[in-house]
Symmetry: D2
Subunit: 440 residues, 4 copies
């Protein structure tokens, strides 16, 4: 860290020091009444007071009152389309600065101003993220709330701009208060306890990086777990094995991204993962010049469900796989017999099966391909955890991030939906079904 | 600074360390062509590359090319009012999430997306602030550029949200690279050299505070100079006197805000001053419980000009003042004879003379009154610098920030344009002109 | 933390960054040969190389070789008494600067210069502390090594000067790598796991403070655990209870120091505990003005053994106590019957029983009395852990640190061995044995 | 800076924060009486109080009282040689731990304990350094004070152990309060003002590094100024030229150490310079791999005086040089005629002229040779400042630090007084005087 950034680090610390913790004085009135006041409030002090009170009041709402609050946001604070139509017409007639200003003000739902004002109080950003998490669970039954979510998404994209995100290594010197969050948030390969955590962050050949944001300082937003290895490991069991001897970081030639966990439900759709992976690749490259391969060890979360939909078809492979995986409940070795079938069908699932928009049906594949990775290899019996078998039939994918090709892959996927495949995966896609194996 | 904030300070330092400095590869194509590409770019790498190239290209534009660039922003990237009108109609007919989404996208000039994408490159925020400073100098002759400025103002208000501003004390332990900016930016009472600076920040009874922003780390945004005194000083000459003995900070009962300087022309209209003063009042109160009075020593920048417009009227006072101030070029003592006239007329100027919107004609008065201050006293022969005489006839105002009344004053001014006055200033406003003083 | 100290914090960080970790090149020669070279070495590079090699060689010594090494230190590097006698005579004759210089050089065993030179290599201080820990275990069988220990003690007293010790709060935001040391080092009331640790450092009414030293940065030297309470708790079980509701720190009136653990055996006799307690008292006083009582909850580690030596005497109380405590193995309530006896005998043990030097036989009492505390109260059934019963018959002492009296108590104990007692403890000391309680 | 060191940096900051500034309560009694009390004081509080009072009292002593104080230190607190002789005899008879302990206590002048106790008060180290500076000025007239200085030197060597020194780059981002010290302390090539300072620390091809110590935080101990250049410059005028264009640091192949300034007179003889140069060489090497040459541009402070002593000899060169340098007062070009003579005589002065201990007469040469440098080249008209001409006849030396040879040079100089010379300097040493140049 250079001098100037030291000085600035110091600057930023004060963001968190500015206000002493104190008990919010909750205005006793109904939340909607308070919101009306906030929208028309003048003066910073009144704004802060109302914002704090509204957020505290929100915490105490019953589920019924919460619906009433979201109804208010959806209806009373919606765009005034009639007025907007008029002002658009006026601007069409006379495109002046003044008429544009009026038009732009009318073109924004009043919800945005409400959220911006709420966000001025201390700790508000985390509370608004949490409010959106509430909202997202309600949208299925209340599709009209989708309009509210447009405003959350618009503002959060700006507030969580990657220019403000801070990459931070998580290791055994990280404060315990952050580490316990990592234990709680690990979504892909569960962390059982502090010793399990220590095995993932303390050895010289293990890394973990997280993004943080200044206005949500207590919580990581997303983190990635990395194993430094010699060669690409063939399963996540190998990566997480407890008895293993750690490598010197400088001796590794491969960085395996074996887990990426989003931590905040309320930031759904606000993408950080692409930046995170790229920045970690860049940092590791510069720190450890011996690293030549940057690769993931990723699940195929929809594979088994998809295979079940294919099982009645002419192709015998899906049925054979489903049969084996059902047998695997009793005997994990049952999966051994279907290695080739599974790799071929997984390749088809990832690279051929598409959504109506021309993109792969697998969400993890869409994520890594959009980031410029290539589908490099498919591994079987690579995640034998109950979850790994239930979702991915024990299979995993290596997505390769080759700094030389990331940008062109990214463009080709963005513009032409081109799925980058290694030679071996291309071969898997083209493979013809084998005749059924003779009875064992 | 508590532990968590130390940890976070450390986090934030990395914002500035993330990318090594490197020479931008400037795309040789015309800037407008590059902008079109940027707006349609997919993928982070392409976005960053184009953004850097466009900002570097902008630096090299001739003034003629610059106008062409702003014309492009004003016209080609303007709102499509016809389409917006249609989409507003469609939403009026069918207010779904989908139709609102289309409408909201159409309701934002494409300039905003361009600026947001430009802002993703390293150091871009400062360059965009500087681009707006260029724009502001052109608006007088090119009023249509006002539409571009609406987008700058909209985005900057969000980017320079006070939640991201960092208050920092400036003192003799501050890095020299920051101090030289303070010397350059002091706008109210010029700082001549390092010794002059030292006199304003090193003594125990002098304070200086600035706001910084993480994306413009090299530059303060605004700063305020404070003198800690016993009693309210009667002139800025007293405050800046070179031979004086410093007070122990704990012995002071008054904090005098004698200079507030905005540092960035390109942030015109993005208000920080109110927050800055309130935060400094709060910090000083808690650090130095002996402080009972928070008061400014402020100029009346339009007073002399206004008096000249009043000089032909029935009231004899303006003419007497103008006469004296003209004599003061030869002999500053000439101002002594007009003390009462000047205080009365200044009170009228500040408290009675209004703009069509009902607010005072004096910009400094509008600023402090909107923040909740009260006009507390008017001092004569209080700024005898050439500038002080030329603009304010040597007079200065004390605006008082009384934590007990700031919020109500603020609301009353916001809603009813009520100008808060001390008793003595009320008396000045009501004073009748004295008979002309006998010949001296 | 003020600005200057920020700058200096930054300075100090570089102490630990200066040298990259690297594998020491171990000189293959016998350690004694290397030591001879080091003592005569010229030039920093040679010194560093030899020092690192010697410390690495020491790590690999067999116990037999280790004795040979300590024999070398004790004999070959001992003071040359004959030469010293001569030089002292010479200085007596002619007390010049030159003769004093020669005398002072001869008056220091060569071991000190060896240790100082060893200490120049990276990480050496911790290794020398550990070497002394080895030495201390050998002294009983090799009393001549006591002469080596004089030099370690002399140097460590200087190196671990309190001016270099750094007080640091340990809480849930402390790095996990430090916290695991706290778990390992807690000597008084064992910490079972991370959840147990969290209960002692995370609640608002729990504090923990440790001293660190820059040259042994990985390890705390000593730490103290503090409970903030309303009133003085009557047992350590209450303090450590798992289900309890935490108090707001500001509501507490009492700070209870319920555990002090020295972490480094090799620093035996280098006293930090007095400074630590005083500094924590000062810091807590200023942070929490509501605290009025600073008190310990301390064991009487030699009480039971002492009572056993008294059991045959005329006084019936020791025998009654011993009988009850033996019964307590089956039923802890057995201790209830001896409350008065135990308090009285404990008071005698603490305040009356003395070593030949006139100081109390109890080491914990000597420590707190020397620091200026007063024996304030004796609690029974206050530590019912197996260890608490085995050593202290379940009793504990409150030593009170009253900032008003600490200095005078300290002086009186230092100069006149006066033991400061509260009124109630004075009464206990004077109490006459009760007639045996009737059979239960 | 890694994580752990961040944590520790934070630790260390607290060293400076621990005690609030407060006015020392000065004990009104004579300083010697206070010192007697301090030596026998028990308890930390009493020690601190007395230490502060004594140091404050010392500040106010008249020069007469100061002599009385030093007399007290020299006499009353001196070693008791008679007792030491006895104890040495006793130890010779019976070398036990106990007898060694008594002996070691008696072998240390009581002054050391006094200084150690004084050093426990806040800010004491700087005051003791300053007390020694006073002492050093008195030694010439009071040689018996040399005995006091032995104790200062002994303690300071331990307190200012290089393990505690912190290397810090000084640049334009350094606090102004530190920079003004640099301006004041630059001893070799005076810094005139802030602009002059800026020219030496802000350009990309200029570096400055200083050592700091935690107990003297306000002041650098020593600093070195470095110019990064292409090729070795031929004069200090070139290095300090005001109009020059800065090089990119990465383009430099040479680091020129053109000024080293010790800042604290009271640390005379406590050597940091060797460490400083070696550490800066190591840091620059790793930061800028393009650097191949590390070289000084150093004065020959005794050259002119030495030449004057040689002027009457058979060798005609000294006289010719002296004549030219006297003419140079009127016309600096006069030095041009003596280039060869001057280089040859300077080589003899540096490499051949020795003190009785076999080391060079030139102090700067002794310093760099002891550090392992080689005398690489002698430059004429290389420092045309008045001081440069008056002391060094305008000549300067390049001492080369070649990481490959530093250790062997260092050993050879330490053990055999071997002066490392480049081929060209060897040739200069052997050169025979030229016949006198014909009249100009």
């Amino acid at each position: 860290m250079n001098r100037r950034s030291k000085y600035l680090a110091d600057l930023f610390a004060t963001i968190f020091d500015q206000r002493p913790a104190f008990r919010t004085a909750v205005d006793g009135r109904p939340i909607i009444e308070q919101c009306r006041d906030l929208i028309s409030a003048r003066g910073e002090a009144a704004t802060m007071r109302l914002a704090e009170s509204i957020l505290a009041t929100y915490q105490g709402l019953s589920s019924h009152e919460r619906l009433a609050f979201f109804d208010y946001l959806a209806d009373e604070l919606d765009l005034d389309a009639v007025r907007l139509e008029e002002l658009a017409g006026a601007y069409r007639e006379s495109p002046t600065t003044g008429s544009l200003k009026s038009l732009m003000q009318a073109a924004e739902p009043a919800r945005q101003e409400l959220f911006r004002r709420l966000n001025q109080s201390e700790g508000a950003t985390a509370q608004l993220v949490s409010m959106r998490a509430d909202l997202l669970t309600l949208i299925a039954d209340h599709p009209q709330y989708g309009r509210i979510d447009l405003d959350f998404a618009h503002l959060f994209t700006s507030w969580f701009n990657r220019g403000f995100l801070v990459l931070r290594r998580i290791d055994w010197d990280t404060p315990a208060s952050i580490l316990e969050k990592i234990i709680a948030y690990e979504a892909v390969h569960e962390i059982n306890d502090w010793d399990d955590l220590r095995r993932r962050i303390q050895p010289a050949d293990r890394r973990c990086y997280a993004y943080f944001h200044p206005r949500v300082p207590n919580d990581p937003l997303i983190f990635v777990a990395v194993a430094l290895t010699k060669g690409v490991p063939t399963s996540v069991q190998d990566v997480l094995a407890t008895g293993r001897t750690a490598l010197e970081a400088g001796d590794a030639d491969t960085a395996v991204f074996y887990s990426i966990s989003n931590c905040q439900r309320g930031l759904h759709g606000i993408s950080f993962g692409d930046s995170l992976i790229k920045q970690v690749v860049a940092d590791l490259s510069s720190e450890l010049p011996g690293l030549r391969t940057f690769i993931t060890l990723s699940p195929l979360p929809g594979l088994r469900r998809w295979l079940e939909t294919q099982a009645g078809e002419a192709d015998p492979r899906p049925a054979r796989i489903i049969e084996a995986v059902e047998a695997a409940d009793d005997d994990a070795d049952a999966l051994d017999s279907i290695g080739d079938d599974l790799r071929e069908m997984a390749a088809v699932y990832l690279a051929v099966e598409k959504r109506p928009d021309g993109r792969p049906v697998d969400a993890v594949a869409r994520f890594h391909l959009a980031n410029g990775a290539q589908i490099d290899n498919i591994l079987t019996s690579a995640d034998l955890s109950p979850n790994g078998i239930a979702q991915s039939v024990g299979a995993m994918v290596n997505y390769r991030y080759d700094p030389q090709h990331v940008e062109t892959n990214c463009d080709a996927f963005a513009t032409k939906q081109t799925v980058a495949l290694s030679r071996s995966v291309q071969a898997l896609v083209r493979a013809k079904p084998k005749v059924a194996a003779p009875a064992r």
